[in-house]
Symmetry: C2
Subunit: 226 residues, 2 copies
Amino acid sequence: MKVNVVKNVLKANDIVANENRNIFNKAAVLALNIISSPGSGKTTLLEKTIPALEKQKSIVIVGDLATTRDADRVSDIALQAIQINTGMSCHLYANQISESLKKLKLDEADYVFIENVGNLVCPGEFDLGENLKVVLLSVPEGDDKVAKYPTIFRVADVVLLTKSDLLGILDFDIQRVKDDIAKLNANVTFIEISSKTSSGMEEWIAWLKEKRGKSVGQQARFVTEE
Amino acid sequence: MKVNVVKNVLKANDIVANENRNIFNKAAVLALNIISSPGSGKTTLLEKTIPALEKQKSIVIVGDLATTRDADRVSDIALQAIQINTGMSCHLYANQISESLKKLKLDEADYVFIENVGNLVCPGEFDLGENLKVVLLSVPEGDDKVAKYPTIFRVADVVLLTKSDLLGILDFDIQRVKDDIAKLNANVTFIEISSKTSSGMEEWIAWLKEKRGKSVGQQARFVTEE
């Protein structure tokens, strides 16, 4: 009984997620589901990423139990920023994204960054209709997290090792993390990045632009690049 | 329908949790549910705490999606250490604890430390039968986490600000955290602690001993303190 209900919830979520994905594709935006533990640097990364995309425009949808803090932080630099308060829920649902889409100027945007609730488990199970999943792991969290939270790293399209400026200060074995990821997911891109020093930002921005180009393909509206 | 099922799951969990609590109380152990984001230092704290309790004996029950790493880390210093692998679940359930209790020498122990899955949301909703909830927040996670994850801080009995040795290195406003906690929870104890430098350890150990004394009360077996 319980299992059936959980399956039904996931099935209903997947239906709405696919509708969202069709909307993203029609609007020629690349939608990214950004997932990490609390405090791994998701919002700080967006604060650096959005200006670095220059003429390409970003919409941000943020999920948090409470506050509008993270949407506020990016509201001046994003085309639009919307906060969803999840109350007791540890992840966003596709229908919350679907509701938000009605308020968004998707036709003017190139990227939709969906910053999920800080959680390394459930956001991996609930498809939001994104094109790609971005998983952040920060250096202070420790080099054992891939092995301990395998489900999320298995579905990641890119893993960003954030706060890489702390690599010299804290004990952290990068090779162990790379080896653990390789065992789970052969196709993932791994980027060391620091929002503080901007190390790795170029590689991340290039990855985004490449993925947007591929995903949007023929449907893409013309974007002027300087 | 969905809401009813969720309520039923919580209700069933609460019944088992209360049975667990009765077992803990009869055995005169203090049971603590240790909750934090991934990588906030739960296991490292236990590695320091268990020896510091000297003649008082600890049992550790660890929840993780995968691996036995954390139980392995404390197996030499704890009276017993058991790992529960939760698979896809982002928190422990009371019935998982109930199953574990059958294998444990509770009559020889003074404390049962239940290290929950790294997650700042759902572990607060699922009572395991513990006497007290210990919530860890690490300095690298940032000083905005109490406002953004209020549900867990509302039910905490003690908040440990871990990795306090990084306070001089990272931007972190302790007063903001204290103010945010005070708005949610007037009765919580707040301790700054570093497993690296041992700063705050004495206060934490004293808190544990005091709570065990109060909780166990007349039922307590005689424990020799040097």
